[in-house]
Symmetry: C2
Subunit: 236 residues, 2 copies
DNA sequence: CGTCCTTTTGAACATTGTCAAACACTGTGG
DNA sequence: CCACAGTGTTTGACAATGTTCAAAAGGACG
């Protein structure tokens, strides 16, 4: 079915922070039961509530993590290559709290959860890496909660644009890489409200047409958005 | 200043999930640099943005974790004995994302962060425990985010009451152990709105007078609240 | 060109927040 | 014991924010 092990096909997995420092033998052990699969867009990879059988690693494409309750749905996060998701459920051997679906054609490595737990116990460096990764995830969610609870939707949009701009090396002009409907959900608002928010931000020099965003006066936008490293910096 | 080491005074620390399985020598190492302090109510123990010098363990009393931005403030969580807080910042050696203040007179053990990191690297069981704890924290925050994004404030209040009722062994009548003003903040709403929410829930048989809550018809309340283990169960 | 889907727009509506005032509770000091 | 201050809670009127619904406009694609 597949040519060689995932590690042979995707050396970048080995380079992932999570695996970079671990011993070769242990990495091989992890990859022995792992397999790589290619999925078309809009495929639901996992459903919340399911038992966590595999740690997932996005090698290419992108994945939407979302949750539902009472006929409502919300996007929780987007996973880009190369990174993992549902690590916490794997560690705790508990049901997934979020569902995941491919946003585009994506290649994903699946590592049996029990292998992850087993290698964790025998490889201190892997253990260290897992803790660092988990702490990172935890802090990201905390920042997201602060964003949601302390800011209005307009402020969230403004700060989102500044973060995206930073990601685009600070360029005045850049692209939204997320469908607006989904972006609205990520930011905790409706598509209609997001559309109006973009329009409101015109008074701070922001221009959004299609996926193109232009930040006319960054200082002006920042005066309104008041970005904070303790909310908006996703690197620490 | 203090009689004996913290572990002698508070054997329950040793019993904490985080420390229970680790080797004696390593536990002693951790406690060597640790110290126990008693704080009066309303003392700010740490401020967001500060470097994370100590892992904190609440031995008695309770602690409010909160965040501020642009003159606004929100309560993120409450820490009850015996548990730790700001573990993620300690692990990552990164600035605190939340501030902490005592809600009442509280005794707190402070363990130097570098000791936690050092012992992590030499004690696999401690490492395992830290990962489990972190994964637990992560999942709790995810559940909280789902609560915030998928439910209205009235639904959040209803589910909060059901969780508190479960905590009180399912009794029809129980006490709120949180000041309403702070509870409102935890639930992401204003005190006024919380007050009105309690009134609205009367139509589902809920009666709140002072700190006393009576759930007249649990099934009825559940029909409205639609509690879900993937949001409301804080044990998995 | 037509179809499907997303985005935008407008108007009505619902929810939530703000502000000011009244009320209730607690503890203090006369 | 009471008066009183201080704090937290509740209430009502109002404003701001966000959602819903319907419809129009724009894009992507066969």
């Amino acid at each position: 079915m597949h040519l060689g092990t995932p590690e042979q096909q995707f050396p970048e997995i080995r380079e992932l922070d999570l695996f970079a420092e671990m011993e070769d033998a242990h990495f091989k052990l992890l990859m022995r039961g792992a397999y790589l699969q290619t999925f078309p867009p809009q495929i639901e990879l996992i459903s919340e509530g399911d038992p966590s059988d595999f740690l997932h690693i996005v090698v290419s494409g992108s994945v939407d993590l979302f949750s539902t309750w009472n006929r409502r749905e919300t996007s929780m996060a987007t996973v880009w290559p190369v990174s993992t998701f549902i690590l916490a459920a794997t560690i705790k051997n508990a049901p997934y709290l979020m569902s995941a679906r491919t946003l585009e054609k994506s290649r994903i490595v699946l590592v049996p959860s029990q292998d992850v737990r087993a290698v964790f116990d025998i490889d201190a460096r892997f253990a260290r890496a897992i803790v660092t990764e988990l702490a990172q995830c935890y802090r990201s969610v905390i920042k997201n909660t602060k964003d949601l609870k302390l800011r209005t939707s307009l402020e969230r949009v403004a700060n989102y644009l500044l973060r995206q701009q930073a990601r685009a090396s600070g360029e005045r002009e850049f692209e939204l890489l997320t469908e607006k409907r989904r972006l609205a959900s990520v930011l905790g608002m409706t598509p209609e409200n997001l559309s109006r928010a973009f329009k409101s931000l015109q008074s701070y020099g922001v221009c959004v047409t299609g996926n193109r965003v232009t930040v006319g006066d960054q200082a002006d936008l920042e005066r309104f958005a008041k970005p904070s490293p303790l909310i908006d910096d996703y690197t620490t």
